[in-house]
Symmetry: C2
Subunit: 189 residues, 2 copies
DNA sequence: GTCTATACCGAGATAGAC
DNA sequence: GTCTATCTCGGTATAGAC
């Protein structure tokens, strides 16, 4: 529970703690006081690093995007696009417990901030468009120039759907079932 | 904008207005003052009908469930289970504009209240389990006793996924694409 | 049953000492 | 750069007149 990795800079600690708490309880329901306390930073000091709560929110979104990009770079080393898509889907299965407990880290944040309006809503859209864009590249590279967009949308919808339902039902097995389907589907392409 | 159907009782008006505003802006972000104002009920009077905001939230969930049941009863008149599933999927397509603008009325509410904890979280789970249960019945009646659960989960995941992504991307065409897929899928069963 | 006034609390945000 | 004390506002909820 929020030891807050004291070796990191305070700014980084605030972002990481904020990301964690926003994932667990939602961004709007977590107060700056909650974040500051868990990160071992005095409340008033938060405003030295972020002018507003919204600004901290943007940093959290950036951090999530950075996490996705790290993962993507790792997976991009695989030789074929089909292997890459396979690896992504397999990674979903590996995170099934987390997905069932707290939903999709990207999807939950995005759908929550979407309603918030303002700069945050705009920024949070990238949490969806970026992964979908990457999917699209893979399908295109796999020879599906025509319907790359549709295929990527389908894959991403399936991902978001299984995460949302597995979370609501608190059932990791649901992820397993849907992932199996996706693997078969990718195999037939 | 919230004329609040003055012919209805105040309690009903509060519930319907609350449901509408919760759908548009989220339940937590809408204050009791917002709801009361839009429903043309004085703020203090809300507490005559509902002891707490959470209690109003429960009523909103009940109302959504009632809406689903109405729709289900209507569709249950169709003769074959496959026709019923088809009709459901077609109704999704008919609501594509709404889905792109505000997401799924069931899914949005459920995923938001899930994090809230307490009695609301428990009650809101029915927003997912009830439709899925109905799907399962249909698949079973269509002769898929073995995998009725898996099939219903798949259909519901697809539904929730397309709604979430279409909402984030604000793109109704995404619903059309995914619905086409689902129709083909049901046809092959 | 209905409505007004208000208590109360927690949130985001600021001032200013160190 | 760091932290304490505090301001302000908006939200839920209550008291009590009519």
């Amino acid at each position: 529970m929020g030891i807050g990795k004291p070796h990191l800079g305070k700014r980084t600690r605030l972002i990481e703690t904020g990301m964690m708490l926003a994932y667990r309880n939602g961004f709007r329901e977590t107060s700056l006081a909650d974040i500051a306390q868990a990160a071992h930073v005095p409340v008033g000091n938060v405003y030295y690093y972020f002018k507003t709560k919204e600004e901290l929110g943007e940093a959290v979104v950036e951090r999530r995007l950075a996490q996705f990009r790290e993962f993507r770079e790792e997976i991009d080393r695989l030789s074929s696009p089909k292997e890459r898509l396979f690896a992504f889907v397999e990674s979903i299965q590996g995170k099934r417990e987390q997905l069932a407990r707290g939903g999709c880290p990207l999807g939950g944040l995005c759908s929550e901030l979407q309603k918030e309006g303002g700069a945050l809503a705009k920024k949070s859209a990238a949490l969806f468009t970026e992964p979908m864009g990457w999917f699209e590249e893979q399908f295109r590279a796999a020879g599906h120039e025509e319907d790359a967009r549709e295929l990527s949308a389908h894959l991403f919808c399936a991902y978001q759907g299984m995460a949302a339902v597995a979370h609501a039902a608190n059932d990791p097995d649901l992820v397993v079932m849907e992932v199996k389907r996706l693997k078969d589907w990718i195999g037939t392409l």
